[in-house]
Symmetry: C2
Subunit: 330 residues, 2 copies
């Protein structure tokens, strides 16, 4: 009686402290089994967010890696997988997180495992740069896919057979889903629950997680105004050899973006601006506003402005370099 | 040169694949050190979400536990802490996640560790039911605090010296911050970055995580309409001994809430409704609408309705029990 009451109370409140749920739930074996691929340098939230979502949906979750030995995530957390690749059971959902994927996307064992399990899984979900692994396995050829915003261009260049899209939080091809960066994995995992169990169930899980899920998509990082940033500029500027740089602030919205760096270099601020200006000469479509470090261009039917400015800091050889992107309807 | 360009590109795009950042960053030792307390049954997202936030803020993160031995999280993930309690360094931020805290909130070693480090940390942050541990350590006496929505009432009852508040995503007492459930930890961790580094930095980190952070608070689970649910009813109903129950759907918004259970029991649906009605007789303030399983009351200046209904399922002895809460301005 006490057990039933406790269970009822838990469920009633959508509490679902997961272990209590697992202990009392009438279905002892979860109907949906999820496999999560782990590798050295995996990003924590990329697998931990979806793990939490799938666990709260009542799915069984198994972490797997090449040899089943402990894995160190991209930020140092040490995780021990449940199984090695060759001991992994069949999965209904295969999750491929991102992080430092440079090795994983070329690792024949990882690619073979992903290819094999993608054939039998009902859903395959990549999070963040995990899409590089799916693409490396040839699973995204001819499909719409997305990835971590700062690596979208590189993704499109490296995997030209993939139809890379920029303006979504996740891209669903029916069976294969790719999400944008990091926290997007939470939303994409809820979308997978939605596709397997219905929107009501997915929203129920989101409520348990106290998460403001937007079934229709939600926040899309790649729509922000820094999409107009001429990325080729970075390679076109002759940066000082001794330059140390750190980001102070980088934020904005869909219309404006502002990034402030703290630069330390023997090269004075004025000269750095001149070097940037020289680099901007090679950027097609940008016109300089005479006597300023401001350029304008027309893109997507919008007037886009790009400005550079520096401010001295108290320390010698240190200054703030500010970049601004502003847009308005043309 | 290549390194500087890569770094610049990474930072420019707010990419900050964290390991790249760590490898190139001019400050080799992070200025802010975070300690995360782990224990058996810790909830994954409670520590993994803030870990991701703090790591992307450039903070150093160290996980600690009682004996430093591997810990199994509430949903099965196995994590190896960086250090045992007695080998832990001093921290600037102490993070106390939730999960299965029934043991941890009474464990003298955990409480002593949390008490000791709370004295020297600049910020102490609990996530979800982690607030039970802070309260168990006596750190929340006289302070405003919140927790996982379904456990708020229990929290207030167990720790009467705590000023428990329900309608926030996190409660900040200047040095001690408690967050609501699970995903709220992401927001509260960003709030801690905000308090130590400014809103611009916190928003920059949120952008890196592609997360739609609301500095002013955001989604508050405990404001949803199921707050009007008479929780004492669960103990007041004589539930069938053989009843198996699982939640099908439990969702809504601030005005309405709907929960559907799948009940399996030899007790027919009609009799279960009668038992619930008998239980409702003991609930103060609720008036029955004659001839129905609907009750109404006035709460917080709103008219609140509570309805029960059942629908037969295909299987014998199985039926859906639906609970609805609806509210309107009185």
């Amino acid at each position: 009686m006490a057990t039933i009451k406790c269970l009822f109370a838990c469920l009633l409140l959508a509490a679902a402290c997961a272990p209590a749920l697992a202990a009392h739930a009438p279905h002892s074996k979860p109907e949906v089994q999820v496999g999560i691929v782990l590798f050295e340098g995996v990003q924590i939230i990329d697998f931990a967010g979806p793990y939490e979502v799938f666990g709260n949906a009542g799915f069984g979750v198994t972490t797997v890696s090449h040899d089943g030995k402990p894995v160190t995530t991209a930020m140092g957390l040490k995780v021990t997988p449940d199984a090695a690749f060759d001991a992994a059971p069949a999965f209904d959902v295969l999750l491929v997180p991102g992080g430092d994927v440079e090795d994983a996307e070329r690792d024949p064992e990882v690619l073979a495992f992903v290819r094999k399990h993608a054939q039998t899984s009902r859903r395959v979900l990549s999070v963040c740069t995990g899409s590089f692994i799916l693409a490396g396995a040839g699973l995204l050829d001819g499909l719409k896919a997305t990835t971590f915003t700062p690596r979208i261009d590189q993704f499109a260049k490296r995997y030209p057979k993939v139809d890379v899209i920029k303006d979504v939080r996740w891209a669903d091809n029916g069976r294969i889903v790719t999400s944008a960066g990091l926290s997007s994995g939470l939303d994409a995992a809820l979308h997978v629950v939605d596709s397997l169990r219905g929107t009501g169930q997915a929203r129920t899980v989101a409520m348990r997680l106290e998460y403001d899920w937007k079934p229709e998509g939600g926040f899309v990082r790649s729509r922000m105004a820094d999409r107009y940033w001429p990325k080729a500029l970075e390679a076109a500027v002759e940066w000082p050899q001794d330059m140390a740089i750190r980001t102070d602030i980088s934020l904005g919205d869909e219309r404006e973006w502002r990034t402030v760096y703290i630069i330390t270099s023997a090269t004075p601020a004025a000269e750095l601006l001149q070097r940037i200006a020289k680099g901007m000469q090679g950027m097609p479509g940008w016109s300089r506003q005479p006597g300023t470090y401001r350029w304008t261009s027309e893109q997507d039917g919008r007037q886009v402005g790009l400005s550079f400015d520096t401010t001295p800091e108290a320390e010698a050889k240190t200054y703030r370099l500010e970049l601004r992107v502003d847009t308005k309807d043309a």
